[in-house]
């Protein structure tokens, strides 16, 4: 076993950063659900693939650019998110919410997977557009264009989300709800409404992520299982409930994954997420950046 060359390491690093951006976008959705409702949304990756199929079918039937489809899927998913929160999640008894919500969203994931299987069969799909199948070469490293686009979209979406949370009245209300629901209600925030919108925003990130995913990889109905563990590990490492924490953990794990992938292979790279998860729980259960929130949930 020779040492990996510098260019290979650089390549791994580059791919890791680009993938980490997508992880950051997707884990921001999970963090939102957890923040506003204290629930773990197991179906998030399933919605991601639902969106990818949406992109695929819109692209195939109307010839629409796959990136433009997110302007249709994201609003639909936003409303869907509000609906799911109001009609399903809000019905669960508060004392067992944490665990029952996992099972409920697990059921949603099965429904989506089975539904996609019925409608679209189990075969693999992919969306290929000419502008995305080349790559830029800089400093001896290839940057695939589809991943660059994906990273850019993730960055823009996250920046917009961050602005929304930091600079708007609604954002303040959302953050207040995340921090202390009762206190937020006391100061006159309509926490029910805020919660629904928070959920909708989370699902909208899945729609955007799905369009990106459709562009960069092949997918099939059962593909979401591979993502659940990874994304869950990221939000625990980042600290449950912290959007910045999740974003930083996503980039960190993405980069480490990229480097391990090019040096040691696919299986160690996949295991790495779980090692980080267990190490975090043992050494710093609140996560790298989480506050006291995580210890209790």
């Amino acid at each position: 076993m020779t040492l990996p060359s510098a260019s290979l390491l650089a390549q791994g690093l580059a791919l890791g950063v680009l993938t980490g951006g997508l992880y950051a976008l997707l884990s921001s959705g999970l963090t939102l659900y957890f923040g506003v409702m204290r629930i773990v949304m197991v179906a998030h990756p399933a919605f991601l693939f639902l969106a990818a199929y949406g992109t695929y079918f819109l692209h195939v039937t109307t010839g629409m650019d796959p990136l433009l489809t997110m302007f249709i899927t994201a609003p639909v998913f936003f409303l869907l998110g509000i609906g799911i929160q109001r009609l399903l999640v809000a019905r669960l008894a508060p004392e067992s919410l944490a665990t029952m919500s996992v099972l409920l969203t697990f059921a949603l994931a099965l429904l989506i997977e089975g539904g996609l299987g019925v409608v679209a069969t189990g075969s693999y799909r992919s969306v290929t557009v000419d502008y995305a199948s080349s790559s830029l070469r800089m400093f001896g490293v290839s940057f695939p264009v589809d991943r660059l686009i994906g990273f850019g979209i993730a960055a823009v979406t996250l920046a917009a989300l961050f602005l929304l949370l930091r600079a708007t009245r609604f954002g303040r209300a959302l953050r207040a709800t995340i921090q202390h629901r009762t206190a937020a209600r006391l100061v006159g925030i309509d926490t029910e409404r805020v919660t629904g919108i928070g959920f909708g925003l989370g699902l909208a990130t899945a729609a955007i992520g799905g369009a990106v995913l459709a562009l960069i990889t092949t997918f099939f109905p059962a593909a979401h299982w591979g993502w659940i563990g990874k994304l869950m590990a990221i939000i625990v490492v980042g600290g449950l409930g912290s959007i910045q924490g999740a974003a930083i953990a996503a980039l960190l794990l993405g980069v480490v994954e990229g480097v391990v992938l090019v040096t040691a292979g696919a299986t160690p790279a996949a295991l790495l997420f779980y090692l980080f998860l267990f190490a975090t729980l043992l050494l710093r259960p609140q996560g790298l950046f989480g506050g006291r929130l995580a210890e209790r949930f």
Binding site: L15, S126, T128, S142, R147, A222, W225, A266, T267
Partner: protein, 418 residues
């Protein structure tokens, strides 16, 4: 209110679940193009009832339905010619959802509950071993279309036969021979291997690897990735970094596409590229957007071949399904041909060691004319012929090896850029 609604809804679900006897899966299914749908249980007697479990849903549903159509084409042909040993053929399909628990459950119920006269094999090396075990323990002949991995034949099964030209590790034999015969100055020096963690895919790639290593072609990288892997950029980067002359992929469809696309993006151009399956499907060229040129694959069957009954198979398949047959369907048809020949020769088709043992002995001792060529088996059920090598040339699949009457074009080397 909630307290009442819940149990009521549940009662409805349970009633839907338990009411009445389960209808026959082939009769109630969504596919209307099923010419041999059986209805209910017929008393064992006149028709020859053949039980089959296939992955009609789940990860392997695509090849599963290909094989199903092959079986149906065969049954249609046999019935058109007066049946099997004078008896009509009925196929009973069960879905196994690509799950070994289901596959065992299916064969268990087909053999002991439905009391079928014969069984045909399921799809995928991963499912064949548990299924073959059930057949073995109930003394049922088990000719199968898809369990090609070397491990399948090391389990001591006496009723199992693989109905294709060669087992996985021998699929590339003609290609290995061709490469090693190249003049020294043209012969590639290094090879890279990447394989899906699957007994069949690894079997094919490592069969070639062994032969190339023996010929002095150095292995510079050997990568195995788990089945759930969909991101091939990093794996491709590792391989591209070594700039190997030959790339060999132990692949199914989606990963072969993923790897080609990732190589395109990284600008890695090997002199020769071979993939187990993926390029064998007609969709491959479209999926890699014209990057298919000169890619090689082993194949057990060619649409144009003149082997016994091939033209009839292709015509009948097209008539029944309004589509082009593929290798999976051909393998299913081959299973039918072999079993039919054995039944006609032995003169029985019923459960019990007396009949099934004779059928197995007959298959072990004889050679069979099939649409993939003449087939003979060793004592463990391994077929003793060889796979052909196909190559994509300008959007068409051509047979390039062996250099005999099946060859349609010369092998092109070194390969064009992708």
């Amino acid at each position: 209110m909630r307290q009442v609604v819940g149990p009521l809804l549940l009662a409805v679900v349970l009633l839907a679940g338990c009411g009445g006897t389960p209808e026959d899966p082939t009769a109630g299914g969504g596919e209307s193009d099923n010419p041999q749908a059986t209805t209910g249980a017929t008393p064992s007697g006149d028709p020859v009832r053949i039980g089959i479990s296939l992955p009609l849903s789940g990860d392997f549903s695509e090849p599963g339905s290909g094989i199903r159509r092959g079986y149906e084409t065969w049954a249609d042909a046999v019935n058109a010619e007066g049946g099997l040993d004078g008896r009509k053929v009925e196929l009973i399909f069960r879905d196994d959802a690509s799950d070994p628990n289901r596959v065992v459950s299916d064969y268990e119920s087909l053999i002991t509950r439905d009391k079928v006269d014969l069984v045909f094999g399921p799809f995928s090396s991963r499912l064949v071993i548990p299924a073959a075990k059930v057949a073995e323990q109930y003394d049922m002949l088990f000719v199968e279309p898809a369990g090609a991995a070397p491990e399948v034949f090391e389990q001591g099964f006496t009723y199992l036969f693989y109905a294709a030209p060669a087992i996985a590790s021998d699929h590339y034999d003609y290609l290995a021979e061709w490469i090693t015969k190249l003049p020294a100055d043209q012969r590639p020096k290094t090879a890279a291997y990447a394989s899906l963690d699957d007994p069949f895919a690894q079997g094919t790639a490592y069969g070639l690897k062994e032969n190339l290593e023996k010929a002095g072609i150095k292995t510079v990288i050997n990568e195995v990735y788990p089945p759930e892997n969909t991101d091939f950029a990093a794996i491709a980067a590792r391989i591209a970094d070594k700039k190997a002359d030959i790339f060999v992929g132990g692949t199914q469809f989606e990963d072969s596409v993923g790897l080609v696309r990732a190589f395109q993006e990284l600008g890695y151009q090997p002199k020769l590229a071979a993939f187990s399956t993926g390029p064998t499907l007609p969709e491959f060229d479209e999926a890699v957007k014209g990057g298919s040129n000169d890619i090689l694959s082993p194949t057990g069957w060619a649409a144009e071949s003149g082997f016994s009954g091939n033209q009839e198979f292709v015509d009948r398949y097209k008539k029944l399904f309004k589509a082009e047959p593929n290798e999976d369907a051909a393998n299913g048809y081959t299973v039918g041909q072999i079993v039919a020949a054995a039944v006609e020769a032995v003169g029985c088709a019923e459960q019990g060691e007396a009949c099934q043992g004779k059928l197995a002995d007959h298959i072990r001792a004889n050679e069979f004319d099939t649409i993939v060529g003449p087939l003979k088996f060793d004592k463990d059920g391994r077929p003793l012929a060889a796979h052909m090598i196909q190559q994509w040339q300008d959007g068409k699949i051509e047979i390039v090896l062996p250099d005999s009457e099946v060859q349609t074009k010369e092998l092109r080397f070194p390969k064009a850029t992708w």
